[in-house]
Subunit: 171 residues, 2 copies
Amino acid sequence: MEFKVKELEGYTPQIGRLVSMMNYARKTTLDAVHGLTIKELDHLHNKNANSIGALLLHIAAVEKGFQIEIFDGRNPNEQEYDEWGAAYGLGELGRKEIKDQPLTFYIDKLYEVRNRTLEEFRRRDDTWLHSERLWDNQPSNNYFIWFHVIEDEINHRGQIRIQLKMIPFLS
Amino acid sequence: MEFKVKELEGYTPQIGRLVSMMNYARKTTLDAVHGLTIKELDHLHNKNANSIGALLLHIAAVEKGFQIEIFDGRNPNEQEYDEWGAAYGLGELGRKEIKDQPLTFYIDKLYEVRNRTLEEFRRRDDTWLHSERLWDNQPSNNYFIWFHVIEDEINHRGQIRIQLKMIPFLS
C-alpha cells in the first residue's frame, strides 16, 4: 500500500492532498472497527459513554452537517435533524437511538456521506478550498473546515481504539 | 482567533499549510490538558491504561523519533532511547517511568521538540515536502509522515478527552 499526501487524479492539487489525508484517516477508522459485532458496537463502558457505533455514525453526521452548511448553504431541515440529530449530538439521545445495527449499517452511512463530499470536491478547485468562511463565528476557510472533518474523525477513532481495549468481552 | 489552513510567513506554501494544521492540533491538545494536576496527569483508569501524562510525552516522543529519522537520517542513539523509549512505547514501561511530573514538564517537552521541527521546516521547501521516502517499509512521502505526526497527536488527544471524562475525581 502507498501512504502519500499528494495530488490525486480528478481533483485540483490542494484538494487532492486533502483527499489523500481524508482517505488515510478513513482507512484507519475502518481498520479499527473491522469485524465488530452488534454487541461490541453497542457496548457502553459507563453511563456517560458513547458506543463505538454511535461514534461511527457521529463521524458521518459531522461530515453531513458540513455538507449541508457548505455545499447546500443552508441549515439542516427537519428530516435531516430526525435522521442525524442523535449521531451529531451523541450523549443521552445517541445512547437511546443508536443501537441494534450491524457494522455494515455504519459503514454504508460513512460511504454514502463521503461519496457526496468527493463528488462535490471534484466539481470545485483550489480557489474554493482557500476561500474564507466563518467557522463557529471565527474567521476560517474551506480548507480548515474540511481538515477539521478529518481531525474530528481521527479524534473519535482514537476513542474507538481505547474503548476497544476496555470492552471486557474483547480482551 | 483565526482558524485557517493557509500559507504562513517563513515557510514555503505547502509547508505553511502543514504547519497551520500542526498548530491547530497542538492548540487543541494544550486546551484539553489545561490546568491538570499531577494526580490527574498520573491517573490510570485500569491496569492497561496509559496516563494522560504518558500520552502527552508520547506525542512529543513520536515527533522526536521522526526528527531523528528524517532530519538526522539515523536511528536513535542510546541516550535518546533512555530519554524517550518509555514515552515512545508506552505500556508497562510508560506506567513505571512517566509520573510525578507537573503539567509544565510535559508542555516544555512538547514545545522543545516542536520548536526543532519548525526550525527545520523553515530551512526546507515544498520539493522536500513532496519527496518520497519509506514509511513502515511502504512507499510514502515527507508530507504524509508529518501529517501522520499530526494524526497521532489528534488520536491521543481524543483519548485524553475521553480519559478526562472517566477520572472519578474530575467528574
